[in-house]
């Protein structure tokens, strides 16, 4: 059960991520699926991360946190965020199959980031919804 995205679809997704997030100061953004595959990733050119390992761990981490939420009777946790000294990481579910991960510094407030992520997610949902339906 595989899925495909073509150049046009990926260009649209990258345009959204660039204009909403990278152009607003986010260092790095990944769109991944829940299996840990990277759909697309963009950065501001400052730092290179081991993106495949990050995606595998992020998908695993998200799955584990969702399972914890269910055990304590929550459907899901709405804020998933790890704060470091210089770098922070934020997770946002787009649909049952896709996850948006952003890495950002202390020059952006969490509130502003969440607002920008949420605007991006709304735009991405439409593009990815058809895919999620196909896989259901």
């Amino acid at each position: 059960m595989s899925y495909t995205l073509d150049q046009k679809q990926l260009d649209k997704i990258e345009d959204i991520l660039k204009s909403e997030l990278i152009d607003n100061g986010v260092r790095c953004v990944f769109l991944i699926d829940m299996a840990g595959n990277i759909v697309t990733n963009l950065d501001n050119g400052e730092k290179q991360h081991d993106i495949y390992s990050l995606a595998a761990l992020a998908a695993g981490n998200f799955g584990a946190v969702s399972a914890m939420a269910k055990i304590i009777g929550e459907n899901e946790f709405s804020l998933l965020f790890h704060k470091g000294k210089k770098e922070n990481i934020h997770f946002n579910k787009i649909s049952s199959e896709f996850l948006l991960i952003t890495i950002f510094g202390n020059d952006i407030s969490l509130g502003f980031l969440r607002m920008k992520v949420s605007e991006s997610v709304e735009q991405l949902k439409g593009l990815l919804e058809a895919l999620s339906r196909e896989q259901a």
């Binding site: 595989s2 899925y3 495909t4 495949y52 390992s53 595998a56 799955g63 584990a64």
Partner: protein, 201 residues
């Protein structure tokens, strides 16, 4: 759930090493990591407990080069084998494209193998997948221990216990010594890639 990126001509494929605890799943990945360093461009990720047992998973991305003009990136994962970690095992199986079942060849582990294979079937069912349609192979590990006088099951017993119903390719192996580790990997990659090609045809 392989992802085909038509823009970058890249296909990402997920292969999971499954099997009972202490059976040699992590040892397989460690051997691959050492032997195929030129195809691996990052560190092996491992989430372990203090006792060196796999807690969540090991992860190793592996490039096999171009197939029909597409770059294929194989994402190798192991699951934690211990019975109590079933929830994390199920998480790792999400979106799996191919499985290597690493059975422990030691006679004392016979029941553990059977139990783990049943567990794999149950967990695949939660993603609406099954061993009849999924590409998978078996590896009968620890065959080298026979030389040290440790009781090892015959291939016939292992086949009867685990593969009688499925008739899948199997490899007697020693993950520690690297015997048939590469052959197992090659086989699962070729079966999985063929299955993805068939899906898109």
């Amino acid at each position: 759930m392989a992802f085909v990126n038509l823009k970058n001509k890249l296909i990402q494929v997920k292969i999971v090493y499954y099997g009972p605890g202490r059976g040699g799943k992590t040892t397989n990945l460690e051997y691959i990591n050492r032997t195929f360093a030129n195809r691996i461009h990052s560190e092996m990720v491992t989430v372990k407990t203090h006792g060196d047992r796999t807690l969540f998973f090991d992860f190793l991305p592996f490039d096999i080069g171009l197939v029909n003009g597409y770059q294929i990136k194989i994402q190798l994962y192991t699951v934690p084998g211990q019975v109590k970690y079933d929830a994390t095992r199920r998480l790792v199986l999400r979106g799996v494209d191919g499985v290597v079942f690493v059975a422990d060849g030691m006679t004392v582990r016979r029941e553990n193998n059977i139990e783990s294979l049943h567990n794999l079937q149950e967990n695949l069912a939660s993603y609406k997948k099954n061993l009849r349609t999924l590409p998978w192979v078996l590896q009968y590990n620890k065959m080298d221990l026979k030389q040290q006088g440790i009781p090892i099951m015959t291939l016939q017993t292992l086949e009867q216990d685990l593969n009688q119903e499925f008739h899948r390719p199997f490899f007697p192996a020693s993950a520690l010594e690297g015997i048939n580790v590469a052959a197992t990997l090659k086989k699962i990659i070729s079966l999985t890639v063929a299955s993805i090609r068939k899906e898109f045809r």
